[in-house]
Amino acid sequence: MSATTAMRYHAARARALFRELDANPDILLLGSAVSGPFNPDMGLDERYADRILWPPIAEFAAMGIATGASMAGLRTLVPISTSSFMFYGWPAIVQEASNVRYLSAGRASAPVVFHVHAGHRRGGGAQHEHTPHAMLQNVPGLRILAPGTPAEVDAAFHEALTGGDPTLIVDHLLLADAEGPVPDAPMRLGEPNVVRSGRGDLAIVSYSLMLQHALEAATALEADGVSATVVGVPCLSPMPVDATLDAIAGHASVLFVDESRAAGSPASHLAAGLLERGTGVRARLLCTADAHPPFAPHLLDAIVPTVERIAGAARELLGLASATTDLHRPSPTSR
């Protein structure tokens, strides 16, 4: 294990981006909202003003331009502060960037990087708190990285800006202050990342902010005599389903936690894989309820997988608690 430094998430992200900018003069940013509106500013504009262009509010054009530039030798990174703003540029990411390699028989490629802040940031309301990466998981050719720890975000910027495929980095505003060890040499994200090892009675599998919530829930479960293993799956596409299921093999119960809605979510894809193995493991899916993100914070907490709700679901799965009549236990059919 290479030497590591304990860092906060936003500092690890800044260090990684500056490292890549210094390593490759051909990296160009179209916009600079990498740290997003609420997080501490990373000083990007001051240090790298000549490496940033600020397009007008025209996402289809900006994302299409970044795609074309990445085909001609530049490494483009398009920070889109709110993930739902990508819908204006949906044709650029789904129809153009993801298809260039296939539709050129490998002669051309478009290793453009789109960086968004997704998930429930509180107070954004129904049009600012999307999880569009669940939809994009269904787009062949697009790589999706959803870091949940400082080490993973460090690796995400490295892989995205040096890899050969169009990549979406799914970031989260509320991860800014998460702490953790960051290795000098960036880790590999294509495999599951065991961030906590338990005795084997319970495994919690998740990504992004929910990975941090899972760690907090695991700590809470110690009081119930439960020693939980927590596994991160930072690469949502192509998702390492078999490697992840191998990493949790032997655990009596498995809880998949995902901030997306259950329908077609990364978690449901993993659960489907587990089912197809037919191992009879007790498993459960905990996702955001099939409803819009309400504006009022206490309403939002009613529909998302909070730390308490994760711990509760784990207790229920382990038979330590009766099935709560928790109104917001997400079920795929809405009444």
Binding site: G64, G68, A72, Y102, S104, A108
Partner: protein, 322 residues
């Protein structure tokens, strides 16, 4: 393409004879296809000014451009017929024809989808100090999509070396540019974003050639983006869902003895008339036409004989790494 006494006529004939023979075998085409009959002059004008470092973003109507550019016709037929010989070995068909060696890395069939990508290539070239411009071709229908306006604005704002070529085969309607565009004229749209625009009658090969040459010279001189409207007359064969050829094979003799009203708008016949006026020997013109027709015939034969690609090809080139 061998050195020819009349390169412009040869560029146009390659496209025309290709499309005519494609319509003849239309039932063998395993999907939709579009032809560029009547729009060959614009393609020839662009091919004449294209330099190796330029990128050419086309759309679903691309045969006439690739043919004018010298792309090998056998792989083109093969791709449209879904055969292994095609550049994408059958995975793209007519909607995604490409020729990486002649500036066409890939082709998008989303209306206006390829235009911002062309701007991106131009941006990269300018920032890396590399030669080359982007030439983005689209139909007048694409001007209904907002992304075109986003591109006019940004190309002007960042002074990108881009030539916008609008190939319009629509007629003005009710005092508007077209039935679906309320601006007075199509050239008003780029000009509203300060992108200089010109209009040329693209049924007259020398007129569209001048317009394209002038615009490209200004761009290569660092003058930022330009827009050329290439206006053609709608070709009757496009009226049906899949193209037919109601006017029959265009014999060069129709330059003197037109059979149809549309013959007056046929860029190839107009070119022949001009060459005849300059004393071109009709026999030499026929010989050129025959040579092109033979090349097309060989290409079609090779494509029809080519096998379909193995099913495993469908899984290639999806990602860089597994």
């Amino acid at each position: 393409m061998t050195a020819s006494t009349w390169p412009r006529l040869e560029r146009m004939l390659r496209g025309r004879r290709f499309d005519e023979r494609l319509i003849d075998v239309r039932e063998r085409v395993t999907g939709v296809f579009h032809v560029g009959i009547g729009q060959e002059a614009t393609a020839a004008a662009i091919a004449a000014v294209r330099e190796p470092d330029d990128v050419l973003m086309l759309n679903h109507r691309s045969h006439q451009h690739l043919a004018a550019n010298g792309t090998d016709l056998a792989p083109m037929f093969a791709e449209i017929l879904g055969r292994d010989l095609g550049p994408l070995r059958g995975r793209g068909g007519t909607l995604h024809l490409c020729d990486a060696d002649r500036g066409v890395p890939y082709t998008s069939s989303m209306v206006g989808g390829g235009v911002p990508v062309g701007l991106g290539v131009a941006l990269a070239k300018r920032r890396r100090g590399e030669p080359g411009i982007a030439i983005c071709c689209f139909g007048d229908g694409a001007l209904g999509e907002g992304v075109l306006h986003e591109c006019f604005n940004i190309a002007r704002l960042w002074d990108l070396p881009v030539l916008f070529v609008c190939e319009s085969n629509s007629a003005p309607a009710a005092g508007q540019a077209t039935a679906s565009q309320s601006a007075g004229a199509l050239t008003d749209l780029p000009q509203a974003h300060r992108v200089p625009a010109s209009r040329a009658d693209a049924t007259d090969p020398s007129a569209i050639d001048d317009a394209v040459r002038t615009a490209v010279a200004a761009i290569r001189g660092g003058g930022g983006p330009r827009f050329v409207l290439a206006q053609t007359a709608p070709w009757p064969g496009n009226a049906t869902f899949l193209p037919t050829n109601p006017l029959g094979r265009v014999e060069l003799s129709r330059a003197e003895r037109p059979d149809h009203e549309w013959d007056a708008h046929d860029p190839i016949l107009n070119e022949v008339r001009a060459l005849r006026r300059d004393g071109a020997d009709p026999e030499a013109l026929r010989a050129l036409d025959a040579r092109v027709a033979a090349e097309v015939e060989d290409a079609l034969r090779a494509a029809l004989d080519a096998p379909p690609a193995p099913a495993s090809v469908a899984f290639e080139n999806v990602r860089a790494s597994a």
